[in-house]
């Protein structure tokens, strides 16, 4: 930038007479209140900022720019104003996609976090033999690539030879067996359950790490005071896990909202549009249908929703701490 800090009128003004009195040797630098960062400090930020700008800010800006146009990816774009955003509100298909994403939050975030808390409450009560082994097994779904997860669950849900339906038939509940991923009512929950399966391990491992941080003395004190397991959970475990819960909720919610691979590989948004989600629409519109502007608008809206929700989660977690 080359701007000499000493030349900034605001910074110099009150100290100016003193500087003049001591002669020109003194620069504005010495006159800065102690602890005030030097502007030169921003130079150190520059490399990281450049990388961040090149790979995040500029593409983001470009996406917003695209979202204000109609473009098929080839021909010159035409200005669309907010038309693409209006379409998100108006088009029942796109509105539905966002609705499905919110339903998936329940399966991806709320259920795994609740489940993780229940399990961790049970585990924190006493030493469980082979805890490390449990942890590994529960965390395993996180390690398996989503493509493999999708293929496995497609097999599990298969109408005739799938293990879920075979299990139902074996225990005499054959009436409940159905083509899960092809059922208008059950396809979305079926996809959601896969999310629960993947995310539960993550939540549990986070909580188990958090519980180990809680001083044993707190539990001892609670027990001396005659707290039962329930009371102990609400008075000791839960408040001390606030940070971990916020992290788990943020991660799983983001995973729910940006879900693409699972839907793409299991149902392609079907049957009908019953499992269509925003990220799938982004891919479809940008690469298959040739509606790049609309894809950008959906993508940017999705990013905003994700930002807003993670912001809310951290705010709530922080407020609770005060």
């Amino acid at each position: 930038m080359g701007a000499d800090p000493a030349l900034t009128p605001g910074a110099l003004a009150p100290a100016a007479p003193l500087a003049r009195a001591r002669g020109r040797r003194l620069t504005g630098e010495r006159l800065r209140p102690p602890g005030e960062p030097r502007r030169a400090g921003y130079l150190f930020l520059l490399p990281a900022l450049c990388v961040y700008a090149a790979f995040v800010l500029v593409p983001l800006g470009h996406t917003v720019w695209l979202s204000l146009h109609r473009w098929d990816g080839l021909l010159p774009m035409t200005w669309a104003g907010l038309g693409n955003y209006e379409q998100i509100v108006r088009d029942p298909g796109l509105r539905g996609a966002f609705g499905h994403a919110f339903v998936l939050i329940a399966f991806y975030a709320l259920v795994p976090v609740s489940l993780g808390l229940v399990l961790v409450a049970a585990l924190s009560r006493g030493r469980v033999r082979g805890q490390a082994a449990f942890r590994t097994v529960l965390f395993l779904p996180q390690v398996v690539p989503m493509v493999v997860v999708a293929v496995i669950w497609r097999l599990i849900y298969e109408p005739q030879h799938g293990s879920l339906n075979e299990l139902l038939r074996a225990v005499g509940l054959g009436g409940l067996a159905r083509p899960w991923l092809g059922d208008f009512t059950w396809a979305l929950p079926a996809v959601g359950v896969v999310g629960t399966w993947v995310m539960s391990g993550l939540a549990l491992v986070l909580f188990m790490a958090g519980v180990q941080k809680i001083p044993q003395s707190l539990y001892d004190a609670a027990r001396v005071d005659g707290a039962g397991p329930l009371r102990e959970f609400f008075a000791v475990t839960l408040p001390n896990l606030r940070g971990e819960i916020a992290v788990a909720l943020t991660l799983t919610t983001i995973a729910a909202l940006r879900n693409f691979d699972l839907v793409y590989l299991t149902t392609q948004g079907g049957p009908g549009d019953s499992t269509s989600v925003p990220a799938f629409q982004v891919y479809n519109r940008a690469f298959r249908v040739g509606q790049v502007g609309s894809a950008a608008a959906v993508g940017f809206t999705l990013a905003c929703v994700i930002f807003l929700i993670s912001f809310l989660i951290t705010r709530i977690a922080e407020r609770g701490q005060e």
């Binding site: 080839l74 021909l75 005739q160 991923l181 092809g182 208008f184 298959r288």
Partner: protein, 441 residues
């Protein structure tokens, strides 16, 4: 016999191309002696990556290099999805492939023509006699108006190499057990379905989890209830005829009736395409309505126990069937070696190439007769030849608009599940169609 002049022309052209290359190098300061050895490089993007396709491509490319040592083929093979998602960016970029497979219709070829990125091939078609190589129905699938807004008319922009036809694979033993012969009319086909059901057999092996098989399952009966000229006009967007008519509604009702009668695999809505034909290969189900692309796999699974026929028309009506072509090969308008590219296109679609394709288990799109192995291959090839001879081939409905694939597959899933009526179904399809065609004309 007709291929000789074409080959000759190809040689002449290749020489011309070499000459042009020589001139180019000389002009840019290269030495004449070095330029004499210089080769023209063709960057070719294709998606012929699966077993037989890849083998055929390798054989054809090797033969081409032998014939034209001065033209170097630089092949980039990608999966279909990969090609589809990168094609537009590559074609509009500074270094586009000279030859590329561009998907038919309004979603890929249309925009590329509109952006003037593909070269009209009429000049070369006249020189090489390409128009006589294909039946009229197949040829139209590669044509676009110069502005890229009208499909199925105007200039030729691509040449298909392989063909495909949708029909009915049947389990010979099961049909015999039911005491039936190959159905000759649509009514006989429905009788067979009812008989199979009554005998506790799955009449039609079907899985619609992947969405696209539904298009074939609907369009095949639809072509028996609508005039094929109407169906073609509708797909190509000529004259913008409405989808809301008696024939399409009758077909929708038929499909729904088949679901209600339990003619499809139990749980078809949650069954993937691959497991469904896989089950047919294991001997489950009487019929399988799908395309010629599973021929090799079914032959491997069922040997001589499987046959093929085209869905028969109602008594007294003409034959009409769903079919198409592999991705057409097109030439970039930015290429510096158009003549060499045309020689390549000619080489991979001539009569000899047709035989190479057939040898690798593929159905050539060209009319040139080929020898195919006995059994299922012969039955499928005979059906393909018949459909071409009678010009009975109608393209896929989802070619009609860029968004039609999504609209149609979702609408068919709803129709089959009883979530919408025949009238609602046709209205939904027409709405997508009208929205796309209201702008252009």
């Amino acid at each position: 016999m007709t291929k000789k002049p074409a080959v000759l022309a190809g040689l002449v052209l290749a020489t011309a191309a070499l000459g042009a290359a020589l001139a180019g190098t000389a002009a840019s300061g290269g030495e004449r002696s070095a330029a004499a050895k210089a080769t023209v490089t063709l960057l070719v993007w294709d998606q012929e990556v699966r077993g037989g396709q890849n083998a055929a491509m390798n054989a054809l490319n090797a033969a081409f290099q032998k014939r034209y040592p001065n033209i170097q083929i630089k092949r980039v093979a990608k999966s279909f999805t990969d090609l589809q998602t990168t094609l537009k960016l590559a074609a509009s970029g500074p270094n586009p492939p000279d030859v590329v497979e561009a998907n038919n219709g309004y979603s890929a070829m249309g925009p590329l023509v509109q952006a003037k990125l593909l070269m009209p091939l009429d000049r070369y078609a006249a020189r090489y006699g390409w128009n006589a190589r294909y039946s009229a129905g197949i040829r139209r699938m590669n044509m676009f108006s110069a502005d890229g807004k009208r499909f199925g008319t105007g200039s030729l922009f691509g040449l298909p190499m392989t063909g495909e036809v949708v029909g009915v694979f049947y389990n010979k033993a099961k049909l015999r057990q039911l005491g039936l012969g190959v159905p000759k009319t649509f009514e006989q086909f429905e009788t067979a379905l009812a008989k199979a059901k009554a005998a506790g057999e799955t009449p039609i092996q079907f899985g619609n989890l992947d969405k696209w098989p539904g298009i074939h399952m609907y369009e095949e009966p639809m072509l028996q209830d609508t005039p094929k000229t109407w169906a073609r006009s509708w797909v190509f967007g000529a004259g913008v005829p409405s989808f809301e008519n008696a024939g399409t509604k009758t077909a929708a009702a038929t499909l729904r009736k088949w679901v209600e009668n339990g003619y499809f695999t139990d749980g078809y809505a949650g069954l993937g395409y691959d497991p469904s034909w896989g089950d047919f290969g294991k001997g489950q189900g009487l019929f399988l309505v799908t395309g010629s692309w599973v021929t090799a796999d079914l032959k491997k699974a069922l040997g001589s126990g499987v046959g093929f026929f085209l869905l028969p028309p109602h008594a007294g009506r003409p034959l009409a069937t769903l079919g198409g072509e592999g991705l057409p090969w097109a030439i970039s308008s930015k290429t510096k070696n158009a003549d060499a590219a045309a020689a390549y296109l000619d080489f991979i679609t001539n009569a000899r190439a047709a035989q190479v394709l057939a040898d690798n288990g593929l159905l050539p799109a060209m009319k040139a007769p080929v020898k195919v192995p006995a059994g299922l291959d012969t039955e499928v090839y005979a059906a393909w030849k018949l459909a071409n001879a009678k010009d009975a081939i109608v393209p896929y409905l989802d070619w009609a608009t860029p968004t039609m694939y999504d609209t149609l597959t979702a609408a068919i899933q709803k129709l089959m599940a009883g979530k919408s009526t025949s009238a609602q179904f046709t209205a939904e399809v027409q709405k997508d169609y009208a929205a796309f065609h209201k702008g252009g004309s």
